[in-house]
Symmetry: C2
Subunit: 712 residues, 2 copies
């Protein structure tokens, strides 16, 4: 399952081409290619620009060629906006010309009809053969603000000045999403670095572009809009790499609901897949999942200008009690800690606060701060100087006229201290003046976010991400993929491996199984029982019998030879009567496992994301409550440990009704080994250990029943 | 538990006084009372205004009296802003003068120190004695825009024109919250009717003001900010009344988290109480719970200008595929239905849409709509005419320059049809022009909400509320309070009613119990066993023994007289050995109840909200997962039925692993009767039926163990 990645140079030909040709260039800026051609000319791109269109001699003063092949010099990158049915011939011309990369703006492929899928497969195979990389089709193009390359028809440079340029890169399956974000953050003074619209991902995928950005030193924060990943395994590797290199990745994955997934399919032909699996993928790679554009904007407002908090302890300072309560609730809700202030800090605050105000964090300076602004600035300063505080959050809702002076004071305090501040609130007054004052706050390095929910979510996400990076770097995190072990031969003819065969596979991966032997005669069974020890169980082994007990194929708690004789005879008699046509492999004689906590461990291969490992408590937890945890393989130890914490019924593992805690390490081991097995054997589609019986701490666990399903 | 409510006239004296006196009036507008005095003068109030302050002869041209008693005419309402320690004497003067209602702006009472609580109790008792009603203390006053009465120091009339005046009333425990909302919705063109800041609720509570507004015909939508209710039972009644009268109530209850609850305590001295109980209270009364100001603003933007949707079926029309997917996801997430369009509708759309666009709902008109605006308007019209569509949602993100003409078309379509539209998105361009265009959309009656999450939440909340009102009106919903039944005498001396006593109480309320008799000798037990029938159980009855089985006080599955003799002797011997000092009431001989689904039914009295009824599945569901449902008594049948739907493990009730569905009616009946018992007996602090065994549909259920705890 080794992944192939585009070379850095291939991606550079897309983002940093020396020359660009627009095929289908036109002076009509109401067409996508016409608009894109104009954009490439007008945004400062310094490379060579060519127009290709047999109908014109020249467009906007640029010489126009009848075909690509007529262009005298080399062409690094081509932008194609011709009709869908003319796209393949043009692409072949590109390959012939030696074009290094292509952006296809044209729509009408897999998102529109089944035939489009075939055309995209042709594109992919041309890309592979020629080495020419393709972005799109059905995309709005790309933007690189480092070199002024605006190969897109969707956006225009907003007429605003930007305080923090090149702060953010975006990869999007939706043109709209990209453009909306672009506009919104520029209006807030934050500049883009690059934007790639990936459309239907015929060749270059989301993960490919992400990989390029993760490996570029200039990249800081990357956002993504995803309708469906085609290569979850690649994404997993790249996103882990992003953690390693400390690049923040935020992703909006849509198609969460069935209705949304259907809509995504008709938009970029993406199969959304199970949303829970994407959740798992993002959690295990530290990707910050977002649900709407506003969250992304809030995160950028927080992370781009500000100082970086060292931890999750906050001081809340508010000009109103209500604001203090709301903020405190939100901080606690999102897992931030309300810092315990030092006595010295509280003394400094109490010396200026009115008697009815509170210096216990949250600090309510009350409306007295309007008449005596130094109350607020003194409290802010004291909070920032407290060693127990990582971030100072200010809740502030005030009339513009009253707040002008106060805000100047706040900025002065901010300059004197070294802690991050976060300004949550609104100024009320004339729009233009308010915007100016807000910009002053932001320019100084204080994030200003109006929506309290978004503000605190953003701070908490940033702090969580920082922690995740630290954990990642401190843990041994290279996941096993099975290459260290003897490869497993799967010589079985049947698609379904019954328990005794499945256990052979599990044992190969050192997953402990209940001792047992396959037997055919009662004599064999008796000998086997003597070897494993009574009490024993009998289980019919047949790929045609999935529910053994329904057909009399399961006998438990057999105490001695006498009982064994009776049970064996009875079982074989019932099976031959009930299942005359089933393929019978024999009867598994198994030692009865001692009682312990039953859990379920499973694995299933997702067509887009690869092998998924599942853990749950079984019984009502799994069947009624769907209380299970998923992770995408290969698992790191950290991932496996997280799975045990992610189920709602986790208390059970700690010992329930006075029982002892279970051997969590044994579960973690089994999960890691199932992951290893899945990575090493693409032929295994599904594996289920149900139950895996786990014993008290230090006592291990055993697989007590299992089944494996192979690919045809 | 009958509630006392302020009379409508008493409340009118607060909101519609013929004359107002400001005690502590001052020309210094940097003081609360100075600012309030100016506000009363400047906002159009036509009643008589008096100033009281011995230090001035006149303030702003209004004659100033040394004391209240010097005022010649009657005073309907007084506003007090003097220091905390001077408040009580002034209040007594008010009562002497015959003032009908008072607003106390002053802070420094229960929110600041324990002594403040006593002062507030004094205020309450003065109010009761004199009939004078008090708002506050520690509040920012009140506003009534019907008569221009601005008795507040916190807000100023924003300099904006309002399209929809008197649309909203607000009751708030936080001055800040009120003012922030005030400003934000006015800036959006929505006008306030009344605003009451209730502060520490020494006399008038949140529920009192709510009751007044619910009964005023002019009221449309009421918002509330709550730190803690003092009278949950009153709130329950008033909020049910609001449903009856179709007044929408939205409430933000803070102190959700422990940290937030502590902050609320130091703000208005409110005990937040369990957040889950408030959730229950709001759900059962159709109160829309909000978590931040932005949600409230979004709801008003939706509900105030627009047409009212008839149901939850939406058509999503988008100028981008990404926008369509995101909106669709949100609609499904919030429980709206993506309407199935009629063939006729799709034909009308397909006739104008480009081939690669989709007419399946969501309808992605693609960026083609920029060059051919009629595509969008034709699709909108077709969607609005489809009988399967209740609301047309438009996802729209566009440059201002491109969108001007398109928006005019949209407004024309809107005028032609009769369905509600919802505009979700943003226009990008110069701030002032954008604001103007947005206002045009809003003025026409189309809600325009930028944040997709808030927009769809608001639509869904409105639709849910409409459904709730319909359900409420169609169901018999007068809850039983026990008055129809013989009152129960609770002659018991002990605080703890052991099972046999608890069952007497339950039986009084027609809750079926397992047959059993209290016995002292083995002879009595044998006779009792013959009456109830074997198999039987023995249970020691002692208020001192809570865990019977731990001390050998519980014997189950006794099959016959012989076993009974042995068990009885053994039990009494063990008890007298293990519990020599416990008060023993006897041994309960009980028929063994047949197996069934065990559930838990409980009741507990909350100091602020009154009796709370609890339902859960017991076992791991209750102990590990806390999977229980709460409702505040008195329950309606609707409430009780909802409880069964609110637990995560509800599948169990439908029959699990092939079992039959349980008798839900028997559970509902038991819940209603526990509610009735709780309402009729204030002395009962707590009751637990654990387990209540419920049988297959139609087979009823029985209480198999129970305990009741009485107040001292």
């Amino acid at each position: 399952m080794a992944q192939e990645y585009p070379q850095f140079e291939e991606m550079e030909s897309l983002f940093q081409p020396g020359s660009v040709a627009v095929v289908g260039a036109s002076p009509n800026i109401n067409t996508p290619h016409g608009k894109a051609f104009k954009s490439i000319q007008e945004n400062g791109y310094q490379g060579k620009i060519y127009a290709v269109n047999p109908n014109y001699k020249d467009i906007n003063g640029i010489e126009c060629y009848a075909t690509l092949l007529d262009i005298p010099g080399p062409v690094d990158m081509a932008v194609i906006g011709v009709a869908a049915d003319r796209t393949m011939p043009i692409l072949r011309e590109c390959a012939e010309k030696g074009v290094k990369s292509v952006v296809i703006l044209t729509s009408g492929f897999s998102e529109a009809h089944a035939q489009g899928k075939n055309v995209e497969a042709e594109m992919a195979s041309l890309a592979k053969k020629s080495g020419m990389r393709i972005l799109g089709p059905n995309c709005v193009g790309l933007i690189n603000n480092f070199n002024g390359l605006w190969a897109t028809f969707a956006a225009s440079q907003p007429d605003v000045s930007v305080e923090f340029p090149h702060a953010f890169d975006l990869i999007s399956q939706s043109g709209f999403f990209g453009v909306a974000i672009y506009q919104m953050i520029m209006e807030h003074g934050i500049g883009f670095a690059r934007y790639a619209s990936i459309g239907n991902q015929a060749d270059l995928t989301f993960s490919d572009v992400l990989n390029y950005l993760v490996h570029d030193k200039k990249t800081k924060i990357i956002g993504g809009y995803i309708e469906g990943l085609k290569d979850g395994q690649k994404f997993l590797q790249v996103a882990r790499c992003a953690l390693e290199r400390e690049k923040i990745v935020l992703a909006m994955k849509v198609g969460r609901t069935e209705a949304g997934a259907r809509a995504a399919l008709s938009h970029t032909g993406s199969l959304a897949g199970s949303d829970r699996l994407y959740d798992a993928l993002f959690r295990q790679t530290g990707v910050i999942r977002i649900d709407d554009i506003e969250q992304l904007v809030a995160f950028l407002l927080l992370a781009v200008p500000g100082r970086r908090p060292k931890g999750r302890r906050v001081a809340v300072v508010s000009v109103s009690g209500g604001g203090a309560v709301i903020l405190t609730d939100k901080c606690a809700h999102f897992g931030l800690e309300i810092a315990k202030l030092e006595a010295k800090t509280r003394e400094a605050m109490d010396s200026v606060l009115p008697s009815f105000a509170s210096s216990a964090n949250p600090i309510d300076v009350t409306s007295q701060a309007i008449t005596e602004p130094e109350i607020l600035s003194r409290c802010l300063e004291a909070a920032a100087l407290d060693p127990n505080v990582d971030t100072v959050i200010l809740s502030f809702h005030m009339q513009y006229m009253m707040s002008k002076g106060i805000i100047r004071d706040i900025l002065n305090v901010y300059k004197k201290v070294d802690k991050p501040f976060l300004f949550v609130g609104r100024l009320f007054g004339p729009a233009q003046e308010v915007a100016c004052l807000e910009n002053e706050i932001f320019k100084a390095g204080i994030p200003i976010i109006k929506d309290v929910n978004h503000a605190i979510w953003a701070l908490s996400s940033l702090v969580n991400w920082d922690e995740r990076v630290r954990e990642y770097k401190h843990s041994f995190c290279f996941p096993r993929t099975g290459t260290q072990r003897q490869p497993l031969k799967l010589p079985y003819e049947s698609k379904i491996l019954t328990e005794h065969k499945a256990m052979d596979v599990l044992k190969h991966y050192d997953i402990p199984c209940v001792p047992g032997e396959i037997t055919v005669t009662v004599g064999e069974a008796i000998l086997a029982a003597e070897r494993v020890g009574y009490p024993v169980a009998l289980k019919i082994q047949s790929p045609d019998i999935l529910h053994k007990s329904d057909v009399g194929g399961l006998r438990l708690n057999i105490a001695n030879e006498q009982e064994l004789r009776v049970s064996f005879a009875d079982l074989t008699e019932q099976i031959s009567r009930n299942q005359p046509n089933s393929l019978i492999e024999g009867v598994l004689l198994q030692k009865m496992a001692p009682k312990g906590q039953e859990i379920i461990i499973g694995m299933k291969r997702d067509p887009n994301l690869g092998p998924v490992v599942m853990f749950g408590l079984g019984g009502v937890f799994t069947e009624v409550l769907e209380d299970v945890s998923f992770k995408i393989a290969p698992l790191t130890r950290y991932d496996a440990e997280e799975m045990l914490k992610e189920i709602n019924g986790k208390k059970i593992l700690e010992g329930y009704r006075g029982g002892a805690a279970v051997d969590k390490k044994a579960i973690v081991k089994a999960l890691l080994r199932i992951s290893e097995m899945a990575m090493a054997n693409e032929k295994i589609l599904e594996a289920d250990i149900n139950p895996f019986i786990v014993y008290d701490r230090g006592q291990g666990g055993v697989a007590a029943d299992s089944i494996i399903i192979l690919a045809d």
